[in-house]
């Protein structure tokens, strides 16, 4: 075990994966010698050579197109998109190609070896092009897996699972926690299953659901609520696609109440799917409407970032409203 921040955990996962299997390659804008703008790929080119860790030209659709091709050839590409906000030029390659590759070919070909890494999320004064949480845009796409870790330990274990999972995975990293989150992380290989949510904290009065950086926000809100004597159960989805509805439903059947807290703008954020599904699965157990705490339905602002964000206070208010309904 070692103390690592989230970036170091990512770097360690990449290192372990590259050492283990020489089909693993790492590429993207500035990821080579420079180690990426956040330094997640630091030292990998030096260690594994330019053919396994390299810069690409500045073209996201090309990065993912290239990665699809390399994965279809049997490679295990780990492609970096510098910011989640810049993933959209690659949307066609991801949604129409990556996700449908195996299905359309009748399993003659697949790009299961592909992992796409990208930092996402707000709280870094980045305005609308360095703050978005675009997971929901991808969650309507059968064939993809989407994974978001909440801390360094989870990051390493989930990334290693993603790299070696026989399906393409979009791995989104909460960038505001890159250096802020520090924890104990094993130096060797370990994995955390994809598609399984985790009950981070057990409780009996209300279920709180989130993923990624938002778990920290939810934990703070839960602390406030506990002071009022409310026992909160916290669930980290970890995987957005496929997602673990059963774990959430089970919890809600116990607590009768659900608050989802998410960074993205409200309408059609992933919380909508969670709410829609859980009201079906746990209908007769609901004591109050499923509440969603989200960003506003605007582009991500700059000057009013603090007001915009779905913070712990807004989440706490939602918990109270749910209980007093």
């Amino acid at each position: 075990m070692a103390k690592m921040n989230l970036l170091q955990a990512i770097n360690s996962a990449l290192d372990v994966a590259m050492a283990k299997n020489d089909k693993v390659t790492v590429f993207g804008e500035d990821v080579g010698h420079f180690g990426g703008v956040f330094r997640a790929t630091s030292g990998l080119q030096e260690k594994y050579g330019r053919s396994r860790c390299f810069n690409t030209p500045l073209v996201e659709q090309g990065i993912i197109g290239f990665a699809n091709g390399l994965a279809s050839q049997g490679g295990l590409p780990v492609a970096e998109i510098q910011f989640g906000d810049y993933i959209f030029p690659a949307f066609d390659q991801i949604v129409n190609e990556t996700a449908k590759f195996r299905y359309r070919s009748g399993n003659e070909f697949d790009v299961g070896g592909l992992t796409i890494r990208t930092p996402y999320g707000g709280g870094i004064h980045g305005g609308h092009y360095h703050s978005q949480s675009p997971e929901a845009y991808f969650a309507h796409t059968p064939g993809l897996k989407i994974v978001i870790p909440r801390n360094p330990y989870e990051a390493k274990g989930l990334l290693l699972s993603a790299i070696f999972d026989p399906n393409p995975v979009l791995f989104m990293e909460p960038k505001r926690m890159y250096r802020a989150a520090v924890g104990e992380v094993p130096e060797e290989e370990y994995t955390i299953p994809l598609g399984k949510a985790e009950v981070v904290k057990e409780g009996s009065d209300i279920t709180l659901v989130g993923w990624g950086a938002q778990i920290e926000v939810i934990e703070k809100a839960a602390e406030l609520a506990e002071k009022d004597g409310v026992s909160c159960e916290i669930i980290d989805l970890r995987s957005i696609l496929p997602w673990d509805a059963d774990t959430v439903a089970e919890s809600v059947m116990k607590t009768g109440r659900l608050v989802i807290s998410q960074e993205a703008p409200h309408t059609m954020a992933f919380g909508s799917e969670v709410a829609a599904t859980i009201q079906e699965k746990a209908f007769l157990y609901l004591e109050s409407p499923i509440a969603r705490v989200s960003g506003l339905d605007t582009p991500y602002p700059l000057a009013h970032e603090k007001e915009y964000m779905a913070d712990h206070l807004k989440t706490y208010e939602a918990i109270k409203r749910s209980l007093n309904y």
């Binding site: 009768g256 209908f283 007769l284 157990y285 609901l286 004591e287 109050s288 409407p289 309904y325």
Partner: protein, 55 residues
């Protein structure tokens, strides 16, 4: 927006699904239960007293 703006339609009840479950479990038609909450909302206590009253 989540506030109930008006009473339930004829033959229907204003109640949370969890209260509906309690009515089901008690084997009673929730539409017949007088609600003590705002706009006639049926609360779980209402189910209880309906059941008790019925006994």
């Amino acid at each position: 927006a989540t506030e109930a703006p008006k009473a339930a339609s004829q033959g229907k009840a204003l109640a949370s699904p969890a209260v509906r479950r309690r009515a089901r479990e008690a084997g009673i038609d929730i539409a017949a239960v007088p609600g003590s909450g705002s706009k006639g909302r049926v609360l779980k206590e209402d189910i209880q007293s309906y059941v008790d009253g019925g006994k």
